[in-house]
């Protein structure tokens, strides 16, 4: 790679989000800022190759992008006449610019923007990931996603969604929406562990820890994503899903696990437990197996109880029933699953998977059909393979 290309790529990776947030915040026009910034990067490749990399690449990019924004706005006849691109002093470096990525995140997760667009908007604007790649991650059509993102940005501009950090009474809700969107980016990664989605979720969570240092739930989410990502190499082996309790701990990433421990300790120091801190604590207990060689099911039982009080969900209810089965035997586990059927429905995939597992432990022939049901409802290939493997073992045994 040439120096030019490297400088451009470096600038792109390090500066994109900050430059875009800065440019967009001053016009409320994300699309305009994106177009101008991508023009500036394209021009940089051309001019820097010819004349060498300037002393201050960020200031150079800002100047070109700002001029492009002014040009374009002159060409677009609009109702607003007071929409001139405001004066923007040139930065010495991008680090000397005010970091307005939190304001940009607030816009991306604004309640006036459709919830399912929060995560794609964040990935596109803060990280500069292109819409095609995001569409693949979400398994939607790139054309449809591009259109919806365009409409959302037009709404931000025309409806006057502010690039601002809301007041103390609205801030917890808005921060919560950002956390949900980052969590959604993280769960995408679970579907396809080889995708870069996990890295992006960690990046966003860690960024948010720095931008909102007084919110323990932010650190809880960073810990949760850190723990999850620490297991990325152990999660699927030879195309078959490996449940956390059966994973080879040697494949876990020690430094990411330590990052999770650190984040969770900082979060707990605030004495304000919440959903993400509890979910992270559950993962922390699972990962302690790397030191102790066993899983502390009693601790998990307590944590799931606490989680269900704060944030009841079908997934947590099923997980709690699985823990019950571990603590008190498969018959107790089946009873717990039956008990939660009215709340989550009997046809949920994880319910069938847990039921099949308990029945198999009891050498009950109904385990086979239960595995069939679980397999029919599984959408992830590695999970299907895991369940097929379990079914085969069960049938071989009885």
């Amino acid at each position: 790679m040439t120096d030019t290309a490297r400088a451009a790529e470096h600038a792109a990776r390090d500066s994109y989000g900050r430059l875009l947030a800065y440019l967009a915040a001053r016009t409320r026009d994300i699309g305009l800022a994106e177009d101008a910034l991508s023009d500036a990067f394209a021009k940089a490749l051309e001019v820097w190759a010819r004349e060498g990399v300037p002393n201050n690449p960020d200031a150079w990019l800002m100047t070109v992008a700002r001029n492009r924004m002014t040009d374009r706005q002159r060409h677009v006849a609009r109702f607003h006449t007071n929409d001139e691109v405001p004066d923007m002093p040139l930065p010495e470096t991008v680090q000397s610019l005010p970091d307005e990525r939190l304001e940009l995140l607030m816009v991306c997760a604004h309640p006036a923007i459709a919830r399912d667009l929060h995560t794609p908007l964040m990935l596109q604007t803060v990280l500069g990931i292109d819409a095609g790649q995001i569409a693949r991650l979400f398994m939607v059509s790139p054309a449809a996603l591009t259109k919806r993102l365009g409409r959302a940005k037009a709404k931000v501009r025309d409806a006057g969604i502010p690039f601002a950090i809301p007041g103390p009474e609205a801030l917890p809700d808005r921060a919560g929406a950002i956390l949900e969107a980052i969590y959604a980016a993280h769960t995408l990664d679970w579907v396809e562990p080889t995708d870069s989605g996990g890295e992006e979720a960690i990046y966003l969570a860690d960024l948010l820890v720095r931008l909102l240092p007084d919110f323990p739930e932010v650190m809880g989410l960073a810990a949760l994503i850190g723990f999850g990502h620490a297991r990325r190499d152990a999660r699927v082996v030879d195309g078959v899903l490996v449940p956390t309790g059966a994973q080879d701990v040697a494949l876990w990433d020690g430094s990411l696990r330590a990052y999770g421990d650190r984040m969770l300790a900082r979060a707990f120091a605030h004495h304000a437990p919440g959903r993400f801190q509890l979910e992270a604590a559950i993962q922390q207990v699972h990962m302690a197996r790397a030191d102790t060689g066993e899983t502390d099911w009693a601790a998990l039982n307590q944590l799931y109880h606490a989680l269900l009080r704060v944030a009841p969900s079908a997934g947590a209810l099923v997980a709690q029933a699985v823990v019950t089965g571990r603590l008190h035997g498969p018959a107790a586990g089946l009873e717990a699953l039956d008990a939660l059927a009215p709340q989550v429905g009997a046809d949920l995939q994880p319910v069938w998977a847990a039921r099949a597992n308990f029945l198999s432990q009891l050498n009950d022939p109904r385990a086979g059909p239960a595995y069939d049901q679980a397999i029919a409802r599984a959408t992830d290939v590695s999970l299907v393979r895991f369940l097929e493997q379990q079914r085969r073992r069960h049938l071989d045994r009885i």
Partner: protein, 117 residues
Amino acid sequence: MRYTFLLYTDPADLAHMTEADWAAEKEVYGSYIGALHAAGVFVDTDWLQPVATATTLTLKGGTRQVQDGPFADTKETLGGYFVVDVPDLDAAMTWAEKCPAAKTGKVEIRPTAMGDG
């Protein structure tokens, strides 16, 4: 920026209201308007007569067509509007939340195209 709040309610929800209820309702709206004035964001408001009084007219297609009734027959109908002048959508949403119509129906918030006119 100027925003218009379009207030939608289901007439069926209002059918059971007594005279005393209406008087109370009027008072509630009075204090809301007072708050908008006090904050210096009030631009305009009006109440609409029930949807049964609506007449819809169009010249689209070349001929003048008049229809007895509203343009769209929906369960929730447009009952009134407010126009406010506030800095951004967050401020508009805060005022819309305080609007009495939000409790009984729905408030659609639309930026006005004439901007700060």
